[in-house]
Symmetry: C2
Subunit: 560 residues, 2 copies
């Protein structure tokens, strides 16, 4: 990237390091001259082929190279795909972090787990507040989302105003009382917005996203219709508004509320402490107390709405939860929709709960969930209020970004002013012009256990090979100088066949390898490379012929 | 299972070996005295945790033990989950197979691949035909489904009439001209039906399943609105009616049709030869001829509607298809809905096609697919027409079977007469009574390459372990009698870390193992079991401490 400071008119650079062509690891960089600000720093969940990987974070090579320019990280809200990578990234970039109270509250929990809390500078902001970061000024604007305390960002740069919506929807009857600050967006729009970056998640969906209050009404109705049975509700632990509504309904119907699932317990604790959750007195009970109450006096709020294996609801479904067992006629509400990829897990949990006699309510049956992301009418509203000169759809798979672009085109925006970018594309803006001028390094950094980035494609490729057909280890001891076989070949397999039932196959394998090795001895071949490759090829062909499988073959020569 | 022939009143036994609490590997056994008939014999696709497995077939232990009783296998239709296990099962059970023309046509292709064709006796039947199998008489009744030539079965037994619907829907405007034979079901219902087994796949969905003709109308509209561009349609190769409508629309708009994808080419060939598909003269062209035509003269029908990795559409999306490349403004229609588990694959393919500039039409946007399975109103119709004494929902996950039961209850059927069974449950019926009296062995037999059933839980567990954290092999050469270390320990890893970047870790690993081994030498421990376990534990603790990962550890001692 050429340093453009020497040129008379510095341009603003906008670079996404995450969140484009994916839903996850959102991270956007704004760079003006000697100042960089980072918007969000999230993680992504591993794809199915990332075997053994715990999570994925953005590649910050570009930022590490320019660390002295970074003025701060500003956060839009506390979801994992916006803050989850911070404990890792902050180890390399020691920069201040700005966010709202709940957002930083959730972040603190993470930093504490990673023993990073005392090494990090956190600044709490409120909607309406402005923070000067170098030559850019960031204003935080209240929005509605499926987590409280979410904000959009209006960043005043010398080149023009940049708005980043964060994740948002328009909720005219929000739970916490404040509609998204449409007036402010309108004001900024009339003053002139250079670039809008907006949430594309639901850009393919027509109409409006329903209000969170709707779900509350459905809960009330279900509670009304279920006077005698225990009620359990699984939902996202980050959706404090949803939890509030469940607690409200419980209170209305004279039920106590118990919370289970580690992330749910933590979220409720943090939100209560920071006053984002109002729990009526004497409503919350500990899970161990539920035996002191009748079924009709209980509501249990739990993790596991995505069928996650170790979640509380999954463990309950598999009769593995220490304190909670399903009773026939329990009313179990799954207050979430399945994120693509999780459908089978949800089906599995629902089946198990039904088998145990529970009455399960989920997406297909009732409106017990609404999205936190704007649909087409709300996205068009945002475009109409802000009237940006240039538009960059963010936060979506290609299909979502593309649909969002089509929306803007349908409203009369010129295709040339809309940028459906790739990660790493450098969008350079001046007062009147915007274009992609180059790229910076980007990528996925995989986290596995304590290791960050040490699992690359070769390791994954090997894991995949091992997972499909297992492994055969062939060990031979050879005399160093003569190449004489001293012991072996011993063949050990794992994940290939059940050896006790396949002795004939293994004996045959040993024979063909022995034969190949003897030929090497006779021809006085001592090159280990040659011998190893011969073992590999011989065994591979034999096994394929017999089984049509290709286990990984690992020849090991011990020199004695 | 006690032989009940000696008792005065023989009971009918109904046993599902597949298709309950799952969608896949459908197989139901009817046993009366010395006669067994088998309804369908399908395969299931492997679950996500069945690493490396190709397909899953039912466990037929019970049938193998009673093979002399088996009078035949009757097939309801030619989908994989109804005929896919036959090439394997027929190797053990050499019994005749009865099915309609297209069903046997598709089966023949499979048997030919497995070199089983000349060893199998196939009898073609037509709807209305009755076949006597021992003391039971099987009548084939025409139904509508997402494949042509599908039938329900009405099995007259000495105890009473049993109806098995197969997979069905009610289509009042079917493509091949014949509405499902409602009159026959009504007739049987008035004569008295002892047991109904009915398709539960869409039992949770309200209303009616739309007619296949609707999709044809949508195609016509899309073709009308796309006068200038090339059109591609991805759909299920087994849905001949869908393919017919695409061909019809192509013909109407003066386009040639090319077929790609092995299973699609085979299906079209088989269906045409058997007159299930009418292809207007000079309409079909070979894929290699497409370059001789302009875009607006072409329709390409392809496999890949589920985003399957090796399918033609996936390869096209990844620019890997030899004859077809995406052109900007290609109209690509995905005429299917994503089966649970396949959503991410479909999203991936759609993204890639959009990026290449294609205009992609899929489920969310247009009604370009209808299900082949009856929804609630049709299922209630079937119950109302047949008025069975006893009811056993089949073909569904637990949630579907359970919903189907609820439907019957809502119509006034007594809960006691409805059986939501598990695989292997033996449902015994007399004229007036039905109850589950025991179980037979059942299970999943996994097919991997040529091996059938030789990959069991241990092998899968090992594959899972290997896939998550990889493997470390520790090889030591020891003198047989003294236990002296002659060479090693050598440590080789795969799928664990990228070794070149982790030399410190591997060196440390070698040291701790060496130390442990030296202690064994000093203490004169020669028990290999002990030494191997010590190596395992020592290394495991070291690696966990350093990386929080648990690779499989394979200690190997070479005796020299």
């Amino acid at each position: 990237m050429a340093n453009r400071r020497s040129k008379p008119k510095t341009r603003l650079k906008v670079i996404a390091l995450g969140g484009l062509e994916e839903i996850g690891k959102n991270m956007t960089v704004l760079e003006y001259g000697n100042d960089i600000i980072i918007i969000d720093c999230g993680l992504a969940f591993p794809e199915d082929d990332m075997l053994g990987i715990d999570l994925v974070i953005p590649d910050i090579t570009y930022l590490a190279k320019n660390v002295e320019k970074i003025r701060g990280i500003v956060l839009t809200h506390g979801h994992e795909d916006h803050i989850g990578a911070l404990p890792y990234v902050l180890k390399q970039l020691k920069v201040p972090v700005f966010g709202t109270l709940l957002t930083l509250g959730l972040l603190e929990n993470k930093l504490r787990e990673h023993k990073m809390l005392d090494k990090t500078t956190l600044h709490t902001v409120v909607p309406g507040e402005k923070v000067k970061l170098g030559e850019m000024v960031v204003e935080f604007i209240h929005t509605n989302h499926s987590i409280a305390d979410s904000v959009a960002l209006a960043i005043q740069t010398p080149v023009g105003m940049v708005i980043h919506t964060g994740d948002f929807k328009v909720d005219y009857t929000p739970i916490d009382g404040d509609i998204i600050d449409l007036q402010r967006f309108a004001e900024l729009g009339s003053q002139g917005v250079l670039l809008l970056m907006s949430d594309s998640t639901n850009a393919e969906r027509k109409g409006f996203t329903m209000s969170e209050k709707n779900v509350g009404k459905v809960f009330e109705r279900i509670f009304e219709e279920t006077p005698r049975n225990r009620i359990m509700v699984a939902t996202f632990s980050s959706n404090i508004h949803r939890i509030q509504q469940i607690i409200n309904a419980a209170y209305m119907y004279g039920r106590k509320v118990a919370i289970i699932g580690r992330s749910m317990v933590n979220a409720v604790k943090t939100a209560s402490e920071l006053d984002y959750l109002w729990v009526p007195p004497r409503t919350l009970i500990d899970i161990n107390e539920i035996k002191n109450y009748r079924d009709e006096q209980l509501v249990i709020i739990t993790t596991g709405s995505q069928g996650e294996t170790m979640s509380a609801l999954s463990r309950i479904a598999n009769s593995e939860h220490k304190q909670v067992s399903v009773k026939p006629d329990d009313k179990i509400i799954i207050s979430a929709s399945a994120i693509p990829g999780n459908e089978k897990n949800v089906i599995r949990v629902v089946n198990e709960l039904l088998k145990k006699g529970a009455d399960v309510v989920y997406g297909g049956i009732e409106d017990i969930h609404v999205s936190g992301h704007a649909r087409q009418e709300e996205l068009k509203l945002m475009l109409a209020l802000t009237k940006p000169k240039f538009f960059m759809p963010v936060h979506g798979e290609y299909m979502h970004l593309s649909s969002h672009r089509d929306l803007a085109i349908s409203m009369g925006m010129d295709k040339k002013n809309i940028f459906v970018n790739k990660l790493g594309d450098v969008l350079e803006l001046s007062k009147n012009e915007a274009k992609v001028t180059g790229t910076v390094p980007t990528g996925q950094v995989m986290v596995d256990g304590l290791g960050v980035g040490d699992v690359g494609n070769i390791v994954l490729r090997d894991r995949k090979h091992l997972s499909e057909d297992g492994l055969m280890v062939v060990v031979v001891s050879m005399e160093e100088e003569t190449g004489q076989i001293v012991a072996g070949p011993d063949i050990i397999s794992r994940g290939f066949v059940y050896v006790r039932e396949s002795e004939g196959l293994m004996d045959g394998a040993r024979e063909v390898v022995m034969k190949a090795l003897q030929e090497c001895e006779e021809k006085n071949i001592t090159s280990w490379n040659y011998i190893k490759n011969l073992i590999k090829d011989t065994l591979k062909n034999y096994i394929w012929q017999k089984t049509k499988r290709s286990p990984m073959i690992l020849p090991i020569i011990m020199e004695v």
